[in-house]
Amino acid sequence: MENKEAYNWTIEAKASLFDLKLNEVWAYRDLLLLLVRRDFVSFYKQTILGPLWFFIQPLFTTIIFTFIFGNLAGISTDGLPKPLFYMAGITAWNYFADCLTKTSTVFRDNAGIFGKVYFPRLIMPLSIVVSNLVRFGVQMLLFLLMMGYYYLSDARFQITWAVGLFPIIVILMALLGLGAGMFISAMTTKYRDLAFLVGFGVQLLMYATTVIYPLSTALDKYPEYAWIIEYNPMTPIIETFRYGFLGEGSFSWGSLGYATGVTIALLLFGILIFNKVERNFVDTV
């Protein structure tokens, strides 16, 4: 029997669930950046408007929301200028929703590559989150421009200290989307049904989050059902976001702490199950 210490890698049938191979992920960091670049560049290659497309979607959604929910349905916006209120919700929500939906199909979308070459699979969902961060950054710019416009036209809003929580909020949104997305992606390799659920599930979830209405109104009008909205971890995130940038919204350390707890739990769970499926998914997808 020769000395097995001489080998520096092993392939085994069963691997520890908790072996996340983070050092490998680090070794492949260049790949992560190149994937992000690929996503960004290929997004607007051969389009006329190019990166402007990043603006168009949130802008039009805001206009439509303002018209339908603001004017037609007359839902309160906590006294904030309607476009500003919706834009805040949409920008934040889009980031979370994009992270979730794109990660949830990561195995299916990359089956070709995953089936032919090995690299730490975690790179793919991570690159999605970072790619979307670029997009989110561009959309934040639009939101800030709009804030500037309303500031000059003397609209009633104010930036509060909670704006300092912005980085934490972004991380929470990213990780929440990543965790939930990875969980779903791992499950969809076997049960395709989930893929259909995600599409409209995310849409429905938006209505259970305070994107088009403030939490205060929900608590006011439907006190007995408002718990659904309150238990949704995205609600405190968006409320904090609005409170920070616009000075309106229900902010509390408790609910933000709750959102953080849910995020960490979901992320750990997502990574574990992703890690488990990753090893053999090529055979079932």
Partner: protein
């Protein structure tokens, strides 16, 4: 020369589930889990099932690799041979960590680069340069490393002028050259190459083989190489693994192994066998008899297809049709049989028949059969079987000046040229 072992494979096995995976998995998963809780063995895995693709077995779990053990020394160039489905690709996939083994262990030393497919991860919209970086990174290179090798890669691929053009505008030859160039310049101790050289023109294939032999002989790296091309295996490798039905049949010097393979692996390819349907007519056996062994057919020779059809009861007006389609699933040849014209399906039980295609001049490619079984009057289709009886057509060893190009045509014809 003994430089020590770089790969050691111990009791490696891999099971695959056949058939529908999507349906009933929740209940199966629950059953499996329940068996595990009670400490029983997995009800769906039976060790010992053979991976013989032509016969149907009771369980739909198949062992693609069964208890494989071997060792590879540093600097060895090892060929892996065996017929289609013998487990060659599965072994490479496990060694490249694309999929995990069901049981067993592999110990290894040094960085592994695997080239199971040419151009994995190429993005059509990105330029050649961008794709070199992306593809290199996917294969595990750092950006600095690629930067250093960029010139060499571009040079090898011969695409200087197109470096900043999106690869979707590349000819397929350029695409393949670029992709191979990236992988060949990877700095790794172990290089795993699947049958990727089947693409590209003859000149480039030669260049790639040359590069690979540099890698193993000149640079002292370990190479694992799968191919159906015995000439390539013989020139490139010193030792070979011969896999048969998922088991390691022989691991010896390449000459010895190839000889054993050619002697023992008889024509079992091109066959389809199925248990008869109880209530409706069905194909029970379809077999392509090719001119050469191992499911290989020589362009211009007679191609024979033997067909067994089981008829539980006599039905009038049966019709059978046979299509031969190429690897792109484009039907090339269509033949048919109407029972009213040539009565071959007139008894209950198994009816045997033979279809002969004299001097079949299919061009070099991989082909499959598509079989249909129907009743003409009522236009009722009993069975349709797709992609069975794979066989390979090769061109006669006649020297034509530029060699037989891939995809020159799908069919050749007799011809003469004369002065008028």
């Amino acid at each position: 020369m003994n430089n020590g072992l770089v790969i050691k494979v111990e009791h490696l096995s891999k099971a695959y589930q056949l058939g529908q995976i999507g349906t009933g998995t929740i209940s199966r998963d629950l059953e499996r889990w329940y068996a595990k809780v009670r400490g029983k063995e997995d009800p769906f895995l039976h060790i010992g099932e053979n991976n013989n693709q032509s016969t149907k077995s009771a369980s739909n779990v198949v062992w693609s690799l069964k208890d494989i053990n071997f060792e590879i020394e540093q600097g060895d160039a090892v060929g892996i041979i065996g017929r289609n489905g013998a487990g060659k690709s599965t072994l490479l996939k496990i060694l490249s960590k694309v999929t995990a083994p069901t049981t067993g262990k592999i110990f290894g030393k040094g960085r592994v680069a695997s080239l199971l497919e040419v151009g994995t991860g190429f993005h059509p919209e990105l330029s050649g340069r961008e794709n070199i970086f992306l593809n290199g990174a996917i294969l595990g290179m750092r950006k600095k490393e690629i930067q250093r090798k960029l010139e060499e890669i571009v040079d090898f691929a011969g695409i200087e002028r197109y470096l900043d053009t999106p690869v979707k505008r590349y000819s397929s030859g350029m695409y393949v050259r670029l992709a191979f160039a990236v992988a060949a310049h990877l700095e790794s101790e172990i290089l795993i190459v699947d049958e990727v050289l089947a693409v590209g023109d003859a000149e480039f294939q030669k260049k790639c083989l040359g590069k690979m032999s540099d890698v193993s002989k000149g640079e002292g790296r370990t190479v694992l190489f799968v191919s159906h091309n015995m000439d390539a295996v013989a020139t490139l490798t010193t030792k070979s693994l011969y896999l048969k039905n998922g088991e390691l049949n022989l691991y010896d010097k390449t000459d010895t192994t190839i000889q054993k393979y050619l002697e023992t692996d008889t024509n079992e390819v091109g066959i389809y066998i199925k248990d008869p349907n109880a209530n409706s007519p069905s194909f029970t056996k379809v077999e392509v008899i090719t001119s050469e062994k191992d499911g290989t057919h020589m362009n211009g020779e007679d191609l024979i297809v033997d067909i067994d059809i089981n008829m539980p009861e006599i039905i009038e007006g049966m019709s059978v049709s046979l299509q031969i389609c190429n690897s792109k699933e484009i039907p090339i040849i269509y033949t048919y049989l109407f029972d009213t014209e040539s009565p071959l399906l007139r008894k209950s039980g198994v009816n045997k028949m033979r279809c002969i295609l004299p001097k079949c001049k299919l061009y070099a490619n991989t082909y499959y059969l598509i079989m249909h079984l129907a009743e003409t009057k009522g236009k009722f289709k009993f069975e349709e079987v797709h992609k069975i009886c794979e066989f390979e057509v090769v061109m006669p060893n006649k020297v034509i000046e530029w060699g037989w190009q891939k995809d020159s045509c799908v069919y050749t014809e007799d011809f003469t040229w004369e002065k008028i």
